[in-house]
Structure formats: C-alpha cells, structure tokens
Symmetry: C2
Subunit: 271 residues, 2 copies
C-alpha cells in the first residue's frame, strides 16, 4: 500500500513534473514494499501513535544539518534513516525545494540586469538541479545511512538518468527569461562530462554559459574548489548575482555571490 501522503502529491508541474511524479511513485512503491527502508509519516517518534522514542529527534537533526550547525557528519543516523527516506520521497521535500526556488525567483526578478551577458546564476548540480533520489532510495544506499560507495555512485552518474528537481528547473527557466546566464558548477569529475551533459539536457536544462566540472588538477575540499572556480568566473568579468546549492560548501568561501540559496539535503555532507 502506498503511504497516505502520496495522495497529496502536487501534479501541477507540466511535463517534467509528471515524469518526476511517476518516477517518485515507482520508487516509493519499490521502497515501501516488503520491509527494507519502509517509510512512515513525517513526524518524530513522539509516542502519540505508539511509536517508540528514539534518542535522537530527527527533525532537530535535520534542522541542524540545514542550518550548518551540524558539520562533518558522515552518515544519516540509523534512527533517522526512515525519517529521511520519507522526507525525501514525500511532499515536504518537494515543497521545501519549491519554496526556496520561489524565494530565489522573487529576489532575481527584483535585480537590475545589465544585459551584457555577465550576470550569472551559479547552480550546483547534484541535489540542486538534478536529484539522485532514485539512487539514494536503493536498499544498499538507504538514504545515506550506509557508507558512501564511490564506485556504485559513479556508475549511477554515468547512467545520466537523474531526474530534475522540479522547483529548480522552473527557476532555471525563469532566470533565463529574465536574462541571466547559467553556470553549472559541480564537484563531479571531468570524466563524467558527457553523461552530465546528456542528463542535464535530457531533463530540460538545455542551455548554459558554462558547465564546470572538477578536473584532475583541482584539489582541496568543496569550499576551496568551488571558491577557486568562482574566483575565476569573477576574474573573467562575470557577476555572480545568485548562487544555489544543497551543501553549505557550495555557498561559503570567497566570491559566494550576491545572494546564496540553500536547498535541502539531509542525505550527505560535503565539507
């Protein structure tokens, strides 16, 4: 049986939304069936429905992640695996992404663009413009509660089948209409350039000014790598008017952009 919350899924996003919806439905069904990674209603184990109390309040844990109060964590706590799974597959995650995208658009449309092609919006890719939920929902990934397997994740990336995050795709299209140039800045390695292009184009991100991937000579952690690439952009005359990512390491460091937007991601942490 599908969890109750799926009866409330938003289906107002045309085309991509529909595909995303069907995909999510498939994943939800797959995940909710037999036993592994069963998901439950989005609430703490608060006792009112007879659930056992966990030592950790998963809502507090997630808020601490999103506000960068919790840093350098490596795994979703076991006690929050189901909570995170439900959140990612449910309506709340989509609403949270939509809300951020809507705020970003409000900000963006209030800006005075110079129309010289130098006003850019920087998007991270994974969990910002493309969603890896289909991968993270696998039994041996379990929404980030099992140690990261680079080989397995690389194989998934190479498939180039990650769906778009609907709110971000809508924002992307709105930004282009407003006159922004789009820069994708990702920690994905250069060798995955072709599948990334295929994936982005396949789901509706059809144009961009630059797609920056991590080269063999790019070292350092997320903050250092992304800062150095943003520095190059600014030195190239670009104005970073907005910068959106799912990790604080996308948004901190030098040249962060005139305004940054954090989209939710309780599945993993990149320093």
């Amino acid at each position: 049986m599908l969890p109750l919350h799926n009866s409330n899924i938003h289906i107002t996003i045309p085309k991509m939304g529909c595909w995303f919806f069907i995909l999510m439905l498939t994943i939800t069904t797959a995940v909710a069936s037999p036993i592994k990674n069963q998901i439950h209603l989005l609430r703490p184990h608060s006792g009112s429905a007879g659930h056992k109390h966990s030592d950790i309040n998963c809502l507090s844990w997630r808020l601490a992640v999103e506000t960068d109060n919790l840093q350098d964590w490596t795994l979703v706590p076991q006690a929050c695996k189901d909570y995170v799974g439900h959140y990612m597959l449910g309506k709340q995650y989509r609403d949270d992404c939509d809300f951020v995208a809507a705020e970003a658009y409000k900000y963006a449309k209030g800006l005075n663009l110079t129309k010289d092609g130098k006003d850019i919006w920087v998007f991270d890719i994974d969990e910002t413009t493309l969603s890896n939920i289909p991968y993270y929902a696998l039994d041996n990934v379990a929404f980030g509660s099992i140690p990261y397997n680079a080989t397995s994740f690389d194989k998934w990336t190479a498939k180039a089948v990650a769906p778009a995050i609907p709110g971000s795709l809508k924002l992307y299209k709105q930004l282009i209409k407003l006159g922004f140039k789009i820069v994708f800045l990702t920690g994905t390695r250069e060798k995955f350039k072709e599948p990334r292009i295929k994936n982005l184009k396949g789901v509706g991100y059809t144009q961009w000014e630059k797609l920056i991937l991590k080269g063999d000579n790019d070292h350092g952690n997320g903050v250092e790598y992304k800062s150095s690439k943003r520095k190059e952009l600014v030195e190239g005359g670009y104005r970073i008017r907005g910068n959106m990512g799912d990790q604080w390491s996308d948004l901190l460091g030098s040249n962060p952009g005139d305004r940054t937007f954090k989209v939710p991601d309780p599945m993993y942490y990149i320093a």
Copy 2:
C-alpha cells in the same frame, strides 16, 4: 484541554528546566484556551486529517527562515501564526534548541584553550539565551504575526522576567567549566542595562566577561552593529571561538567567530 504533545515534554533539566516547564505549561494553557491563538499539532495542513490546505506550507516557510533563504520578512504569515505558536510552545522547539547547544558543546570541548582568558564565546541574548515566549504568546503579539510594537516590547524587557532557554543555559555553564569567557552581545539599548543584568542573573547566567548593549552612538543594522562590536573584541585581543545567535545577522559580517551556531527563531527577523 492541553494539546497531546505536552504529554511528551522533557523534564530532565533541573531547576531552570522545571521553572521553564511550568511557565510553558501556563502559557500553553492560557494560549490554548478560549479561541485566540489556538494551537494545533505540529504538521502542515496536509489534508490527511481533514485540515484545509493553506497556500503556504509553514514547515517550508520556517525552514526557509532558518536557512536564511527567506530574508527581510516583517511578519509571520497569518496562515502560519498557529503553526509558529505551536512550535514555540511545544517539544520540537526545545529539542531543536537542545540539539544546537549539544553540537556547540561537542565543538567547544574539542578546542584547545589557551587559558589566558582571551578565548571567548559570544552569545546573543533575546531568543538565544533568554526567551521572550511569554511576551510573544500574548494575544496582541501572536507569535510575531502582528506588527512589532516597540513600546510594548520595551515594557516587557524592563520587567526582566524572561526565562532562560534551557539548552543555552546548560551550554553556558559547560563553556565556563571548559574555561571560556562569556560575552553577551545584544541589540538591546544601553538604557535597559540594569533590567538585563537582573534578568540574566535571575535565571542563572551569573557571570560574564562583557555585556555589550547598543549605545546611542551605535548605528547601522544588526550585521553592521554586531560586526563592529566583534571587531572591537578582536582588536582587544580576544579570540571569538564560538558565536551563537537566533538571527543570521548575529552570525554574518566580519569577525563572525571560528564557528557560528544558529538557534531557531521563526517569530521575527532582524536584518
């Protein structure tokens, strides 16, 4: 009748916690009674329990506030008044505060202090160390969904009866034991110095290195004011090892501190 969630209130915090608990219970009863500011279970109006949908998802709204995605807002949306009220009076807010404090302590105890008295922890006051919930729960304040009344809030501040936020008080005591000097840095005006001292001491914040209030010559917004005061601290030889506030304007700007911690506050925004 008290809302269901109150049966789960944590009562593990000694002394202050008990007082806080009794106070909260009183407020909850007062607020939940007749009609004004009635509170409901912490969940979106999601349909599954027959609630009507609101145009705004209050969980998404609050997340956007806490992550600084939503900026320069003036009022809690009418549709989220009850949600915010419930959150502030309920277990989740306390758990969220406790979680941040616990993370801050984990970080703090890992630091190597020089023991020269120059390692400081900066605390904001309102909604960081002291709670204004008793004021914000009033009918004519309604958890920040009614325009701010400076005269009325000043009168409340002058009463010096704000309770401590239990998690922060616990952290404060832990930090002192570790050897930190405490600096309170608040946007409260200098003329309220005496009631602030009385209030802080009255609830258990009994010692500090400095209590910095906003003087008549201090101008600028929150970021500018707090940055300038932190600059003075650093110029005075202090090392800001941690900085905790409920507003992003407490934590952004220059000399933010080695690490910042954002405690929740969905009731108001200070630029």
